[in-house]
Each structure stands twice: as C-alpha cells, then as structure tokens.
C-alpha cells in the first residue's frame, strides 16, 4: 500500500492561493483607490508598520486626512512638485526606478505555475498544493547578463502518481517559455513524496529528453491543455 500524502487534499480556493502581500494589503486597505501618490504613501506606512492590526491603519479615514495634509498643494507648478515627489520616493526606500527592472522572485514563479491545470483533476496545481510558494527557491541578481537559477520542489498528490513526470514537464515548459534565458530551471519531487523519486527527477532535468518530449505532438497537446488555464 502506498502512503497517501494528499489524496483528498484540502482544495484551496483561487483567492486563498498566496499572492504578493503588497497587493493584498492594498486591496484590503484602499479598496478602489488608485491615486498613485496616496498609494505610495500608504505603502510607506505599511513598511513602517506592516501588521494589519496597526492602530494607524485601522482608521482609514483619519489616515486619509493625515495623508492629505502632506499632499503638496495642487496649484504648485510641476517644477516645484517634482523634488517633493522624488523626496517621497527616496523615503519609501528606493523607488521603482532604482529597483532592478527584471528581478524575479518566488512569488512571480509561483504565479506562473500555480494556475497550470492538473492533468487529471479539474483543479490547478496551486489549488491541489502540488506547487507551494515555500518550495520555490530563486537565486537571481536581476542582472540579465548573469545566470540565475530556480529550484522547484513539487508534491505529487499520491506517492505512486504516474503523472508526476507530466506535471513536471508542464511546469518546465511553462517556465522555459516565460522566464528570461538566464534562468536554469531545476524541478525536483519533494523528498519522500514519490516511489520513484530519483527516476522522475533525472528525467525532468534531462535537457535532451525534455527537448525530445517537446517535439512529441501528442505529449505537447496534453501539456498545452494544462497550460490553457495560466494567466
């Protein structure tokens, strides 16, 4: 008898999947607000006190008033307001311009693969917890002239799951198509989650076998179907 790891897993709803924290807190606190200046100030405040229980953040109205006092008067000319803005940015801990334009993190990888459909369930790999945010490791300097690496450990739904290789192939195809060429992709089964772990791992990371699989139309058809649900 094989050990059931997560057959009958707790199926996660789409909105329960991990997403970038900033985004969720923005939604939570700001609702439909989309004024960039306000957004930036709020993310600044969020950095000061990240917890949602923060007293300040609890009272949105007071906060708004507080913030509006700091907004530069609207009538100032562009030239005058510019330095104020840049000052704001520097306070916010390095504005977007200073960030590496292309830095890719685990959440971004997760977003790319979590919505891949499981080949036998009408659910996504994220919902089935086949892929998990904490099992994604990314080493990326953001420099497009340096090599980067992503290591993904997948958790098959059952220890003898014959579709583990197909799921791994789907993830690899998705990432090879989406990530910049500097990325070396390693896909492994999480330790102890599969009976023929080494065999599957070897196959999933054999460049030649993967290339040949991608020329197999039947296989590619199945993979394409899995990827249709990707956003």
């Amino acid at each position: 008898m094989s050990e059931f790891l997560n057959e009958n897993p707790d199926i996660l709803e789409e909105n329960q999947l991990p997403t970038r924290k900033e985004d969720s807190t923005k939604d939570l606190l700001l609702g439909g607000f989309s004024n960039e200046a306000t957004l930036e100030r709020r993310s600044l405040l969020l950095k000061i006190d990240h917890s949602l229980k923060s007293q300040v953040l609890q009272d949105i109205e007071v906060l708004d008033k507080l913030l509006s006092i700091r907004i530069p008067p609207e009538l100032t000319s562009d030239e005058d307001s510019l330095p104020a803005e840049s000052e704001d940015e520097s306070v916010a801990g390095g504005g977007k311009e200073e960030e590496e334009p292309d830095l890719i993190d685990a959440q971004e990888i997760y977003d790319l693969i979590a919505h891949i459909s499981d080949p036998e369930h009408p659910l996504s790999l994220g919902q089935l917890s086949v892929v998990n945010l904490e099992d994604i490791d990314v080493h990326d300097s953001g420099n497009q002239n340096e090599m980067a690496e992503v290591v993904i450990k997948i958790t098959p739904t059952i220890t003898h799951c014959s579709l583990a290789t197909l799921i791994g192939l789907g993830i690899r195809v998705r990432l090879e198509r989406s990530l910049p060429p500097r990325f070396r992709i390693t896909i492994l089964l999480k330790k102890g989650t599969h009976d023929s772990e080494n065999q599957v791992n070897k196959q999933l990371n054999d460049k030649e076998r993967v290339a040949a699989a991608c020329e197999n139309e039947q296989l590619l058809g199945v993979v394409s179907k899995m990827l249709v649900t990707c956003k």
């Binding site: 002239n145 340096e146 060429p181 070897k202 054999d206 460049k207 030649e208 290339a211 040949a212 020329e215």
Partner: protein, 338 residues
C-alpha cells in the same frame, strides 16, 4: 593560466545548436530547427555555403559527423533516422550537398552518430538503449547493420571511435561508459566504466599514440579520465578512473574533447569553457572562460585545425558557434601547440 580569446562568433540559428563537426575546411552544424548548415572556413573568411534540405528530417538534428577525409556527412535526428549527405558533383566552385541515403532502424530518437577513423563503420545510438554499427562501401551509399549492441540499460547519449583502432566508446543515461571491440565482425562490450554519478553526456579518446585513455563528461558536473590497464583472461579490458579533473563546472558537463595537443576541453550548462593540461601526471586547469555563450548553455565543444592552428569551436543554446584561441601573454599559443 592562459587566456581563451574569441576569434569569431557566428549566429546561425534562432534555436539550440546541438552538434557541430569540422572537416576539410567546412563546419557542419545541427539544430532543433531541423536545418543542417555548412560554413566554409578559410583564413579569416567564414561563409555560409549551404543549408541542407530541412524536409529530410521531421524532428531536431541531434548529431552531425563528417566521414573522415571525404565530403560525406551523417546526421542523426530525434525522428529516429540517420541521413547521409554527399557533395554534388559540380564545377568545384559551388558547394551543394544532396541527400544520399536515409538509414532506419532505431525505435526512437537518435542521439549520436560517429564514423570510425577508416570511415568504414558508422556507429549510431538512441534513446532505445542500443548502439548500432553499420558497415558501408566506399561511396557511402549502402549501409548494412552488422551489430546491435544492447547492454546499456538506458538511453545511449553519445558514441565516439578511437582515433586509429576499431574501438568504440558509448556514453549513457545509465551513468556508465561502455567500450566495444571488434572480434571477427562480432562487436562485444569489453569494459564498463563505472564512477559517474549522473548521465554521461559524451566522451573522447586520447589522441596520443600508444596511450589508450578516454575522458568523459557527466551530469554530475565532473570530467573524468579513464585508463586502459590491460586484458584479463576472459578478454575483458580493465579500465580504471585515473583522474577526476579539477572541479570547474557548476552544472552538467555536456561535451568533452581531447585534442591532438594533449589538452582536454569541456563545456556545459554553466556556460563555462575549461581547458585542462596534464603536468607530471596531474591535471591542472590551463584556462577557463565564463559566459561563453552569454547566459546560454553550451552543448558541444571540439578541437579543430584551422590554417595550421589548433582552435576550439563551441555551439550553444543561443544558436551561435564561437571559435576560440588559446593565448598567453599576447602570444598565440595555438600556433605551436602541436
């Protein structure tokens, strides 16, 4: 340490270059896009002279090999066939190659093709775990399979012949290299080289006369040198792992080449080209070059002779072939390397 300098860079494909071979001034390359390209290399002139009919194969070209001292080219494809191409008779000014034969037999992807030094045998290997040895005539039109070697337990990734003897080495996904020898037209496995901890991607024989050695590159990121020690009573050859070369690569080693100059070169997924030299029985890194194909992986490396110089050619996932020279203190070492 010497420096490795880029002589020339040729962007030939949008896709991966899987294989390259150079003979009589012509470079042949094989790629995922099913096109075999031929580049004439004379002095400093690099000219694309022919693109072979891409409908000959239905899938990627994995391996190309010139028959020694001829204008005959063999190409192995993921479509499970091997094609043979011959230079068209012409006035000598134009260069064109035509399909001469298609060899069928393997059950699935052909991964390697290699000609024996005398050109009479062609060895092919495949994901079907077998190595086939084909005998051919002078024109290379007819191919008869004389042996099917099935001892490997997994895909056979690469085959290569000894530079003078009828001795074949095959590298496999089963982590071993096997040595095959001809006993009265019956090919037998005479040695299994165990030691690598991952797929062996390629191997190459020592070119020094009277020295029976082999180097191999593996998924385990190491390059090893193996040495023939002698025969036992059962006619089996005894081989030992003589050295594991200095740890240079951080990822899979996809290709190794042993030059007539005695130097070994290796490339792999980490984009590094490393050259090793044996000094007093010990292997040292003579030179190393990183990001040889930018951030792309390198699939193949070969020593070749160009204008009396010994240089290196590499092919990568970026669809580029790069030519490299080995130099020290501004002096070109390759000129008197052999």
């Amino acid at each position: 340490m010497l420096s490795i300098n880029l002589i020339r860079s040729l962007k030939l494909y949008k896709n991966k270059i899987w294989s390259l071979d150079f003979s009589q001034g012509i470079l042949a390359t094989g790629s995922t896009d099913r096109k075999i390209k031929l580049v004439s290399v004379k002095d400093d002139d690099f000219t694309l002279i022919d693109v072979l009919d891409e409908t000959a194969h239905k899938k990627a070209i994995r391996s190309v090999a010139w028959r020694p001292h001829t204008s005959l080219l063999a190409a192995g494809s993921f479509d499970s066939t091997v094609s043979i191409w011959a230079r068209e008779e012409s006035d000598g000014r134009t260069f064109e190659m035509d399909l001469l034969a298609i060899i069928e037999g393997h059950e699935n992807e052909v991964k390697g093709v290699a000609w024996s030094s005398d050109g009479y045998y062609l060895a092919t290997c495949s994901r079907d775990k077998s190595v086939w040895i084909w005998e051919t005539d002078e024109n290379g039109e007819e191919y008869e399979c004389i042996s099917v070697l099935q001892e490997h337990s997994q895909d056979v990734k690469h085959v290569t012949w000894h530079p003078s003897e009828a001795l074949l080495a095959s590298s496999s996904y089963d982590d071993t290299v096997r040595i095959w020898k001809d006993y009265d037209d019956d090919w037998e496995c005479v040695a299994v080289l165990n030691g690598h901890e991952g797929t062996v991607w390629s191997s190459d024989f020592d070119k020094t006369e009277g020295m029976l050695r082999l180097c191999s590159g593996s998924d385990d990121s190491t390059v090893r040198v193996w040495k023939y020690m002698g025969d036992d009573e059962d006619g089996q050859q005894e081989w030992v792992c003589e050295a594991i070369l200095p740890d240079v690569h951080k990822r899979q080693v996809y290709s190794v080449t042993w030059g007539f100059n005695g130097l070994i070169a290796s490339v792999g997924a980490d984009g590094v080209l490393a050259i090793y030299e044996e000094m007093g029985g010990e292997w040292k890194v003579l030179a190393k070059h990183t990001l040889c194909h930018g951030v792309y992986e390198i699939n193949v490396v070969k020593w070749l002779q160009l204008n009396g110089k010994t240089i290196l050619a590499t092919g990568g996932d970026d669809g580029i072939v790069n030519f490299w020279s080995l130099e020290s203190f501004g002096k070109d070492r390759s000129k008197n390397a052999d």
